[in-house]
């Protein structure tokens, strides 16, 4: 076991994937010499050369579009979008191209592409640097969307995403880049499938459904609740598309109550889909409606007020209270 930050764990995962498979390439803005603005690719260009760690011209459609071409010819490109708010110029290439080539060719072609996106708020940034675009991709057939919440998951999930034959949007919770955790670098392979959810804390009275940056927030909330004598279960979705319904529904059936927590705007955020599915599948088992603790339906606000915008421990517990009082 090694203790490392999520950023370092991602770096180690990328290095291992590149070492194991020569077809793995990285591309993106400033990922080479600089090692990326978050240093996730630090040292990789020096190790694997500029043909495998490519500094791209400043154009996201170009980055994703050329990666599609590389993927179609047998490479496994991993591209970095510098910040969440800069993925939109690549939108057509992602949702209308990368996502569809397999479908268009009845499975003859595939696009084993990973699009890494540092996402989410809470880092005091200016606008366009704190967004949570997961709905856009989770709604898009043909894409898969995953997000790790811990260094260990980051290390394994990036390797699994690279090994996956479908295009994967890999969302990295940037405010957790510097959180530390244990990673077992000697292990041979991941314990959990890339698309499985995980019960990160068992509990009995209500289920907190969360992912990425909000897992830590929910765990903290569950700890506090525990001290106050309430037992909350925390489920880390890990995969947002597909969602591991079995784990989610089993948990909610056990507890009878669910609160979904995410930073993205409420309307049509992941919470909407989870609520819809849960009420469809557990109609008689629910003791309260599925509640949502989310960002507001606003553009991401200036950093001095982001704490109010982002779900935090208190807002989570407040929703739990409301659910329990139902």
């Amino acid at each position: 076991m090694t203790t490392m930050t999520m950023a370092k764990a991602l770096n180690a995962g990328l290095r291992r994937a590149m070492g194991a498979e020569p077809k793995v390439l990285l591309a993106g803005e400033d990922i080479g010499k600089l090692g990326g603005v978050f240093r996730v690719t630090e040292g990789l260009q020096a190790e694997f050369g500029p043909d495998r760690v490519i500094d791209s011209p400043l154009a996201e459609a170009g980055i994703v579009g050329t990666a599609v071409g590389l993927a179609l010819r047998g490479y496994r490109p991993v591209v970095e979008i510098q910040f969440d708010g800069f993925v939109y110029p690549a939108f057509d290439q992602l949702v209308s191209q990368a996502s569809r080539l397999r479908f268009r060719t009845a499975g003859k072609l595939g696009v084993p592409l990973v699009v890494r996106i540092p996402y989410g708020g809470g880092i005091g940034a200016i606008e366009h640097h704190s967004e949570s675009p997961e709905t856009y991709f989770a709604h898009t057939p043909g894409l898969k969307v995953v997000t790790p919440a811990s260094p260990s998951d980051a290390y394994w999930m990036i390797q699994q995403a690279i090994a996956a034959d479908d295009p994967v949007v890999f969302l990295e919770p940037k405010r957790r880049y510097h959180d530390k955790g244990e990673v077992d670098l000697d292990q041979q392979s991941a314990e959990l499938s890339l698309f499985s959810a995980r019960v990160v804390k068992p509990g009995t009275e209500a289920t907190l459904l969360c992912y990425g940056p909000m897992v830590r927030t929910c765990l903290e909330a569950a700890m506090v609740a525990e001290q106050e004598g309430r037992s909350l279960e925390v489920v880390d979705l890990r995969s947002l598309s597909p969602v591991d319904d079995a784990v989610v529904l089993a948990s909610v059936r056990r507890t009878g109550r669910a609160v979904v927590v995410h930073e993205a705007a409420r309307t049509l955020g992941l919470g909407a889909e989870l609520a819809a599915r849960i009420q469809e599948q557990c109609f008689y088992e629910l003791d309260a409606p599925v509640l949502r603790v989310t960002g507001y339906d606003l553009p991401y606000p200036p950093s001095r007020v982001e704490d109010g915008y982002l779900p935090d421990l208190d807002r989570v517990l407040d929703a739990v209270d409301r659910s329990l009082r139902w």
């Binding site: 170009g62 050329t66 179609l72």
Partner: protein, 368 residues
């Protein structure tokens, strides 16, 4: 529209009357017998096109984008390709598809709506048709980057080198994606030949709206060569494309070819070109027909005769019959088939949706 003249800015090797034009910069070395196979390809492409247009009129296809008039640009550029070159078409490249060995019946599946672009006869080196204007040009650059990394560019043994040729229209040159493709290709010196068929229109919009100067000059702004070629002259198209391919394969980077031609038919079978263009224009272009001029030349050169022409006509007719009869017999797909085609690893949810769909359909006593 300013008519380009033969000259340094407009490569022509066979004029509209079918007379060869001598130049110092480009020449076509293909023997007449090879040009005769070009003529055959062009005639058959035109027959495929007219048959598909007719099938659409009869309601057997939902849509068809005619290639009428663009045969020289397509056959001339396609016939100089060889392994490991890669072809990335747009949606009107029926002549290129023909040269790549694609069964035209396969093309019909897409426009009949019995399939997406999954054509059994499609070789790996021919990318499926693309319908989002310009998006495929970036894929082409990525494929060219793959060739570089595969060690298939700039080798001493020239025969092992390859390049990517990507097709797009005049209208496409306005898209951000296409300009990013130019830029990425230039930046990486990627082996791409950007083959723009300037057929003068993007649906109703004349080329002047997309560019106030000749399109081929766009390339200079990115630091690579652009050439305008008479797109109705198969000899010139061959010569220019071959030059561009060799340059790209050698490792000297991209070229933009503007094949100056004309869409003699409608944009698609849904389009009514009389709304936006004059008959006189069409007539002027009819006089430059790519097939007529090549036929005139080959006849004069004695490379083809009546028997050859008769045989070709029969071949074309047989092909048309095969399409006509084959089209209506194309297998009808079932929606259920598609649920496992979106992903390599199909999510449970989709399998459940498929099962629900099947159970629902099965509940109807007779198929709806």
């Amino acid at each position: 529209m300013i008519e380009p003249e033969a000259g340094p800015d407009f490569v022509q090797l066979l004029d509209a009357g079918g007379n060869r034009v001598e130049r110092t910069d480009f020449s076509c070395t293909a023997p007449d017998v090879e040009l005769a196979t070009d003529l055959r390809d062009m005639v058959l492409t035109r027959r495929i096109d007219s048959e598909a247009t007719a099938l659409q009129r009869k309601g057997e296809l939902g849509l068809w984008p005619p290639s009428l008039g663009q045969e020289a640009a397509q056959i001339g550029s396609a016939r100089v390709l060889r392994d490991p070159d890669v072809i990335v078409p747009s949606y009107r490249e029926h002549g290129v598809a023909w040269c790549a060995g694609i069964d035209p019946l396969d093309l019909l599946t897409t426009f009949r709506g019995t399939g997406m672009t999954d054509w059994p006869s499609r070789p790996d080196t021919f990318h499926p048709y693309s319908f989002v204007i310009g998006a495929q040009t970036l894929h082409a650059v990525g494929m060219a980057m793959a060739l570089q990394r595969d060690g298939l560019v700039g080798n001493d043994d020239a025969a092992t080198n390859g390049a990517v040729v990507v097709y797009f229209g005049d209208g496409a040159t306005s898209q951000g994606d296409v300009n990013e493709a130019f830029l990425f290709a230039a930046s990486y010196a990627a082996p791409v030949v950007f083959f723009c068929q300037n057929n003068q229109y993007a649906i109703s919009e004349p080329i002047e709206l997309q560019s106030r100067i000749p399109l081929y000059r766009r390339a200079a702004g990115y630091g690579f060569p652009g050439v305008r070629v008479d797109g109705n002259d198969v000899l010139a198209v061959r010569a220019v494309t071959e030059w561009a391919l060799d340059r790209a394969r050698r490792g000297d980077g991209p070229v933009l070819i503007e094949a100056y031609t004309y869409r003699m038919g409608a944009h698609t079978t849904s389009d009514d070109p009389t709304k936006y263009r004059q008959n006189e224009e069409l007539d002027a272009w009819r006089a430059k027909d790519p097939i007529a001029r090549l036929r005139a030349y080959l006849e004069r050169a004695g490379a083809i005769d009546q028997a050859w022409t008769d045989a070709l006509d029969a071949e074309a007719e047989a092909l048309a019959v095969r399409l006509r009869e084959g089209c209506v017999r194309l297998p009808e797909p079932e929606l259920s088939d598609f649920f496992t085609q979106a992903y390599a690893d199909t999510p449970e949810l989709l399998l459940a949706q498929r099962d629900a769909h099947q159970a629902y359909e099965a509940a109807f006593e007779e198929p709806r």
